[in-house]
């Protein structure tokens, strides 16, 4: 027996000429909440449907708690799923929706429905129909319907994307709590990088049907495997400066940075918006173009030669007027070096 609750090994699915999921490997520990994140069309929803059995893979194997899921119909996999729109049955009441998975298994758990409704704070809504519920209430019912039968695996496909922002925060917290309370292993699919980092114990980043990087939110943010991950995460995304690295010095049309470690060659220097400052006597010279105020922070748009950069600036820091010259310092400890050709991180 392996220590993993769910294992995907080289799972592949093609639609005609298009390979939607290519040799996907994924391992989840019991009770773990994994955020599967990527841009739209990256194959994450297809991956979820393969696990759920709504699609069959062309190749590879999927093992859940030691059971090979290949060929099993969705109803026999013990996998529950929450859909983007909730997918509540419109003609059934909240109570009937919550109890549906039990009814499908020949049980009729009034008590379980009641208990779940109380946990989700929707006990007053049991006789309503989905059309009479708000978006948040609907997703609560959907969560309850999925978890009422204690599934081995809990899948969430963009569960919050139809809700407005303040509600998303509360629902995200609720989902984390439910996963912890029930101890269920869960995969949370989203295209929103900030949501993925906030919700996941670990993140799996997908692009073009393959997993690009797996790791904790911290690892993904601080040590992205390539420029795609670097620019997908963070708002604003990571700044990239093209340079030629020779004997520890990276130089470009924008200036140079010294005391770097790495082989000579064409590189991209990456740094987060918060990893550079704008002191008057900074070694790099640029132009401050615009400052956007966000309350808790400001984002400065700076042009360094031909290259537009975004920098996070504290409210206390004094800035010159727009369109005037500024100095710029990059924290060398936070600087990442990517290969210009492969776009993979070198250090």
């Amino acid at each position: 027996m392996s220590d993993f609750a769910l294992q995907l090994r080289r799972v592949t699915r093609r639609f005609g000429e298009v390979t939607a999921v290519a040799a996907l490997d994924l391992h989840l520990r019991p009770g773990e909440l994994l955020a599967l994140v990527g841009p739209s069309g990256s194959g994450k929803s297809t991956a979820l449907q393969l696990i759920a059995g709504l699609l069959e893979p062309d190749d590879g194997e999927i093992v859940l708690k030691g059971r090979d899921l290949r060929g099993l119909p969705p109803g026999q996999r013990d996998v529950a799923m929450v859909f983007q729109d909730g997918a509540l049955y419109p003609h059934l009441t909240v109570a009937e929706n919550l109890g549906f998975p039990l009814r499908a298994r020949g049980k009729w758990g009034q008590k379980a429905v009641r208990r779940m409704a109380e946990r989700l704070e929707i006990a007053a809504l049991l006789d309503r129909r989905p059309a009479q519920l708000s978006g948040g209430e609907r997703q609560r019912v959907a969560l309850g319907r999925a978890l009422i039968r204690h599934p081995d695996l809990f899948l969430l496909d963009e569960p919050l994307s139809s809700l407005d922002l303040p509600l998303r925060d509360r629902m995200r917290t609720l989902i984390r709590e439910l996963v912890e309370e029930t101890g269920v292993t869960a995969i949370y699919v989203t295209h929103d990088q900030a949501e993925a980092m906030a919700v996941g114990d670990r993140l799996a980043v997908m692009n073009q049907g393959a997993i690009v990087q797996c790791g904790t939110p911290e690892e993904i943010y601080r040590r992205p495997a390539n420029t795609f991950v670097a620019c997908f995460f963070g708002s604003p995304p990571m700044n990239l400066l093209p340079a030629r690295l020779e004997r520890g010095t990276a130089a470009g049309d924008w200036g140079k940075v010294e005391n770097l470690v790495g082989d000579d060659g064409d590189v991209l220097l990456g740094f987060r918006p918060e990893d550079a400052t704008l002191p008057d006597d900074g070694p790099l010279r640029g132009t401050l173009e615009r400052v956007d105020f966000f309350g808790h922070e400001r984002i400065a748009a700076v042009r360094l030669g031909e290259h537009p950069l975004r920098l996070r600036v504290g409210n206390a820091h004094a800035l010159p007027a727009p369109h005037s010259a500024v100095g710029l310092t990059i924290d060398p400890a936070r600087l990442l070096i990517f290969d210009a050709a492969t776009r993979e991180r070198r250090s």
């Binding site: 449907q49 759920a52 969705p74 859909f83 983007q84 499908a104």
Partner: protein
């Protein structure tokens, strides 16, 4: 002036409708109140013909036969149409082929359909009885057994009308919410539960419209029973239109009484539609 303007545009269409629809209807109502015969305009009888129909056992029997025929046709056509639409839901290519094949009998005249099935169901040398014989069964008396004669009508009606019901059902089935079906499958619901909890509530209105159209079409059908069974054996398939035809043209020539029968059928159908529309509005 401005308000009268659109009405002016509608006038030609309204006039045409009045000429081709309203005038014949009024003429039939008038006819139903006389004892007219071919070549003789007849005397005014008032409601006599209508009262006579209410006391006419053969007319009552024809109505019941029509209801039986139409009811069976509804169950067969709507049921088969829904099943076929569900089966073809995910198969785009099969759907295109099926649509073409199904449409062929639909464009045939009712009379042609009747003659085709008359051949297929002939007791001696008919294709169906030959098949049954090959399988070791006895030839079925399609023309002399009352139930088999009705079954023959149902089969021919299904064959001709399946395209209509299937296309209608496909329009509803195509809009079935995919997420709901997925969720139910994951919840471990059986096909029957999925049908009851998701497909039926979603498809209910389409089924109702489909059933109503097939019912009205069958209840007023003339050419198919006329050419396939001729109302036999022994009035077993004599639907209202056949009896009206017998009354008007086959030896008795009672045009007024036949028109009265037709009026009663028309009013019955109109009442049925009104009730169903009322029910739908209340459900919505």
């Amino acid at each position: 002036m401005k308000r009268g303007f659109p009405a002016a545009y509608l006038l030609p269409a309204l006039a045409l409708t009045a000429i081709v629809w309203l005038l014949p209807l009024l003429y039939a109502v008038g006819l139903a109140c006389t004892d007219a015969a071919p070549g003789a305009s007849g005397r005014w009888l008032g409601a006599t013909n209508f009262l006579r129909a209410l006391g006419d056992a053969r007319f009552g029997h024809a109505l019941l036969t029509g209801l039986l025929y139409a009811g069976g046709a509804v169950i067969l056509n709507v049921g088969a149409g829904l099943l076929l639409a569900l089966a073809l839901r995910r198969a785009a290519r099969a759907r295109a082929i099926a649509q073409t094949l199904l449409l062929l009998p639909w464009v045939l005249a009712e009379l042609a359909v009747a003659l085709i099935w008359r051949g297929f169901l002939a007791e001696d040398g008919g294709w169906i009885n030959l098949m049954i014989g090959k399988l070791g069964g006895a030839a079925l008396p399609w023309r002399t057994d009352p139930f088999l004669a009705m079954l023959a009508l149902w089969i021919a009606t299904l064959w001709q009308g399946l395209a209509f019901s299937t296309l209608l059902q496909m329009a509803g089935v195509g809009a079935l919410p995919e997420h709901h079906l997925h969720a139910a499958k994951l919840d471990g619901a059986s096909r029957w539960l999925i049908f009851r909890a998701i497909v039926w509530p979603h498809q209910r209105r389409v089924i109702a419209v489909n059933a109503l159209l097939v019912f009205l079409f069958s209840l007023t059908s003339f050419a198919l029973p006329f050419a396939l069974t001729g109302g036999g054996p022994l009035f077993a398939t004599e639907v209202p239109a056949l009896y009206a035809y017998q009354t008007a043209f086959a030896g008795r020539f009672e045009l007024g009484y036949a028109a009265a029968q037709g009026m009663i059928l028309l009013v019955g159908c109109a009442l049925l539609i009104a009730v169903l529309l009322r029910l739908r509005r209340r459900a919505a």
